[in-house]
Every structure is written in C-alpha cells, then in structure tokens.
Amino acid sequence: MDPNAARDFDRRNLDWYIDKLVQILVFLGGISAIIFIIGIFVFITKEGIGFILHTMDVKEFFLSPYWEPSDEDAPEYGILALVAGTASVTGLALVVAIPFSLGAAIFVGEFATGKTREFLKVLVELLAAIPSVVWGFIGLTIMNPLIIEIFNVPVGLTVLNAGIILGLMTAPIMTSIAEDALKAVPDRYREAAEAMGATRWQVIFKVVLPAAKNGLLGAVLLGVGRGFGETMAVLMATGHAVNIPTSVFDSVRALTATIAAELGETAVGSDHYQALFTIGIFLFIITFIINLTADLVVRGVRKG
C-alpha cells in the first residue's frame, strides 16, 4: 500500500484539535455535578469540623432536647427537639400528600384524557413552581388565623399548619413523579388485562399499581427528601419554638429553619456557627441517603 495514502487519512487539522478541545470542555461540564457535590460536602465539613472534633458530645448532640447555643455559661447543642420538629412536620405532610397525590396521579394518568389531562398536568406543574417563601407567607397570614378560629387554639403556627403547607407543597411534585411511574408501565400490560375482561379499576389496582410499585415508592421518598430539606416554609409556619411536640397543635422548630434563623447572628468560626454547619452536614448525609435509596428503588423497576 502507498504510504502516502495513510497520511491522507490523518485528519489532525485545526478541526480535529477543536474537536478534541470541545471534548475536554464538555467532559469538564459533565463532571461538574460530581465536583460540586463533593465541593458542598468538603466546604460544609471544613466549616463544621472544629465543632465535631472539639466541642461536640455525640450523645448530647443527638439525644439532648435542649438547643441553647447562646447560653454563655453552659451552651447546649442538642438537636433531638429539632429532629422531632422536622420529623413531625414532614410526617404530617406525607399523611396529607401521599393519598392525594397518588389519587391525583391515577386520575391524571389513567382516567383523564385529551385536553383535561393536558390541563391538569400543566396545573400540577405550575403548583409545584410556587416558591417556598410564598408558602411560608401563606402559612403565616392565611392558615394561622384559620387554625386559631377553627380549632379554638391560642397559636396557629404549629405542626398542623406547617404540615398542611408542606403537604400542599410536596403533593404536586409527588403527583408528577408518580404519574411518570404509572406512565412507565407498558400499555401491553393494560391491554392484556383488558383483553381478559378486566374493568378499568381492576386494571389499575391489580396490574398498573403493582407494576409501578417501585416508581411510586421513589416518588414518596423524593417527597420525604423534599419535606426534610424545606427551609423557608417551615421557618415561617412552625412557630419556631424548640419543643418536642405532643400534639399537632404544638409549635416546633425544624433543623433547616434553625440554620436559617441563627446563621446570621453567629460569629464566623464560633462554636455556635460550627454547630450550625454540623447540622448542615447531618442534613446533607440524610438527604444523600434518601436520594440514593430513591434512585436505587426506581432503577430496580427499570431493570425488571
């Protein structure tokens, strides 16, 4: 073979180099998400590590219900009450959101057709877009007096208020993920069932729901993650009192809200400041686990 022929196929001209350069640039873009996630963990750990190594008493941190970081003589850093606050609000929100968003997803995905369906989907998407600070404001100004009046209680900024607000907030998101999960069930499953004489609701309950089980679980998990990490709405609607709730009419304080309310008042590098970052690390790890689990659960169904 003529050796010059091989050289003709050597395409290393300017375009070739540009191509390689772009490939490197988009690769950097591709790994940016990984870099940022690691960066988040590194930087919040850097700010909080001093507290974890020197001041933190692990037992006190997780088991003490007293969060009194500004006490000059004996500051106490116990997040139990804050965890209880977050858990109670998120729990109530799920009780509100799960049945309704599953019901709505089934209606939108399996019953509604054509224009109605499109309209409902757009509406759900718009509801999901309402900013959390607006939800907090609604809790503060609309729900608060409403709860005081209806239940005849002295305070309306309670687990009940924040739970309902958070429920309304997460429901649209859970609805759209759940609807996606229903959509992922192949039509031939439905057709096969209908060919056997099953009615619509039999198809839904005996075929579609079991087949979409993992996707629906993923939707719920993402809802949990969202509720857990929500900040502004729970800051404004919970009443912000460090307290382990005994009823839905108690005021509580959430982990996220504590950071939002106190970070501005602390001196950089102080114990209190580092303790707030430690709560941040805790939140990061919990939501990481929730998201990872949700991803594995959803992916499990795709493989099967």
Binding site: D15, W16, I18, D19, V22, Q23, V26, F27, L28, G29, G30, S32, A33, I34, F36, G39, I40, E47, S101, G103, A104, I106, F107, F111, L120, V122, V124, L126, L127, A129, I130, P131, S132, V133, V134, G136, F137, L140, T141, L168, T175, T199, L222, G225, G229, E230, T231, M232, M236, A260, G264, V268, F277, G280, F284, T287, F288, N291, L292, D295
Partner: protein, 289 residues
C-alpha cells in the same frame, strides 16, 4: 348484541365510583391552592401599582415600593444564568453525545439528582463556606449567584439533555458520513435542532431561581440597603427575601403590603413557568420528525 349481566353493571358502578373518588382527590389537591392564589390576588392587587414596582421602600420598609428588591432579583438571576447555562449545556452535551452507558455516567447522574435534592439551606452553607469565606467574594451578588447557579444547575442539565435526546440519531449519522467531526455535528446539526428545547429549560431555571430564598440569605442578599447594586461585588436586596423580611422581621408593616410583594413574586415565577410550558407545547406541536 350482549345483554348486560349484573356483573357488568356492578363493575361499571364500581368503576364510576373510583373515577369520582380520584377526581375528587385531584380537586382537593388543586382547589385549596387556587383559593389561596385568588386570596393573594385580591389582597395584593389593592397595593399593586406602577409606583409600587418602581419606588424604594420608605419609613423602615413599612411603606413605599419594592424597586431595589426587584432590581436585585434581576441581577441575581442574570448572573446565576451566565454561570449555570454554559456549564449545564456542556454537561448535557457530554451526557447525551459523548458518555457511554457505564458506571461513570451513572455516578454523574446520581450527582445531578443529589444536587437537586440537597436542601436549599445546605446550599446556603456551602455558599458561605466556599464563596463568601474561602474565595473571599464576601456577601455579594457574585457569591449568591454562584450558589443559586449550582443549586439550579440540574434544571438546565435535565432540560437540555431531553432536547438533545429528541434529535434523531439519523441526523448525526448523516452528518458524520459527510466527514464532519463530532463537534461540527453538534454545532451545526444537533444544537440548532435542540435550541428551543434548551431555551425552555433556561426559562424554567429563571423561574426557579427567582423564587429561591434560603441560598441567598447569607451569601449576598440583605434585609435592607439604601443603595442599588452597581456590580457583582455589591450586596443587594431581593424580592423573595424581601417577602420574608416584611412579613416576619419588620414591625408595623401595613397588612396589605406583604401581599403585594407575594403577588409580584408569584406572578413573576408563574408567568415565567407558563411561558416555558407554552413554548414546550408549541414545539411539540410543530415537530417535523
């Protein structure tokens, strides 16, 4: 034909019942929110005026308008977009055009999911630790916008990847067969066919960024400043934070004023979102392949 048996009739009835039940549940989900929106519209509408939009707050934020907050939000969103859109598009190009189906791609996807799932207040902590302190930007528009950009990056990535995926493989193959390099193909064939879909994602990101509060609280947005921002190293007011401030932090605010702020904020977010959705539907309608 077939006579309806009692079983058929019963099944039909049950089905009707379930349909009703699910419809009711959907309504229960949507109605309260609509009622709330109407309340906002009625109460906030009374304060809304051109003056309200274009004057500064006065009397310790108990009167006047929202102009500095509005302008601050525009600054924050614009700078955040400048940062996140190029990175997001690059990431989406990598994922859709270069990456194979392997563990590495899966790690990237997982990182994107987590970036979207990390609580906004943790993003704020990151912003403080990284941009305000470590990189020394101080509390500034730059630090706040960087925080916002990283937080909303998944929105751009996901939307762009979807629109790249919608470009048929045959388009690329035809181009490659003409001897074009990968980048030439992306630049001349893939991107032009995906640009409107990308735009949809960008508008969606504007909407998301506008409403965020927690990530900017400690990184660049302040409760009140008498100065309008002049550059990216200035602090600024922001609409979302302003709503928080006037409804919780300032005593003696007239009852209607926060409703006005909330109405402007929600209107901006929902209008942006609607434009994005309408655009997406229009594109789907006119798709040629």
């Amino acid at each position: 034909m077939f006579a309806e048996t009692s079983l058929n009739a019963r099944n039909k009835k049950v089905q009707g019942l379930f349909r009703m039940l699910f419809m009711l549940m959907t309504a229960m989900l949507i109605l309260p929110v609509l009622i709330i929106l109407v309340t906002l519209l009625v109460k906030g509408g009374s304060v809304l005026s051109i003056d309200f939009l274009f004057t500064a707050p006065t009397n310790g934020m108990t009167a006047g308008g929202i102009f500095p907050a509005l302008l601050g939000t525009v600054w924050l969103v614009a700078v955040a977009l400048l940062i996140s859109v190029p990175i997001g598009i690059a990431a989406a190009i990598y994922l859709n055009e270069y990456a194979g189906e392997n563990w590495f791609t899966r790690v990237i996807n997982l990182a994107i999911i987590n970036l979207a799932g990390v609580p906004s207040i943790v993003h704020a902590l990151f912003g403080v630790g990284a941009f305000v302190i470590f990189f020394g930007f101080g509390t500034s528009i730059l630090a706040a916008s960087l925080t916002l950009a990283i937080m909303t990056l998944p929105v751009v990535i996901v939307a762009t990847r979807e629109s790249l995926r919608a470009v048929p493989m045959a388009f690329r193959e035809a181009c490659w067969n003409m001897g074009a390099t990968r980048w030439q193909t992306i630049r001349r064939v893939v991107l032009p066919n995906a640009v409107s879909g990308i735009l949809t994602g960008v508008i969606l990101e504007v909407s998301r960024t506008t409403g965020e509060t927690a990530p900017i609280m400690f990184t660049g947005a302040v409760f009140f400043t008498p100065f309008l921002p002049q550059g990216i190293f200035d602090q600024t007011m922001a609409l979302s934070l302003h709503l928080f401030v006037v409804s919780t932090q300032v005593p003696g605010v007239p009852e209607d004023l926060p409703y006005g702020v909330a109405l402007v904020l929600i209107a901006m977010v929902l209008i942006m979102n609607s434009i994005s959705i309408a655009f997406r539907m229009y594109l789907r309608g006119k798709k040629k392949w």
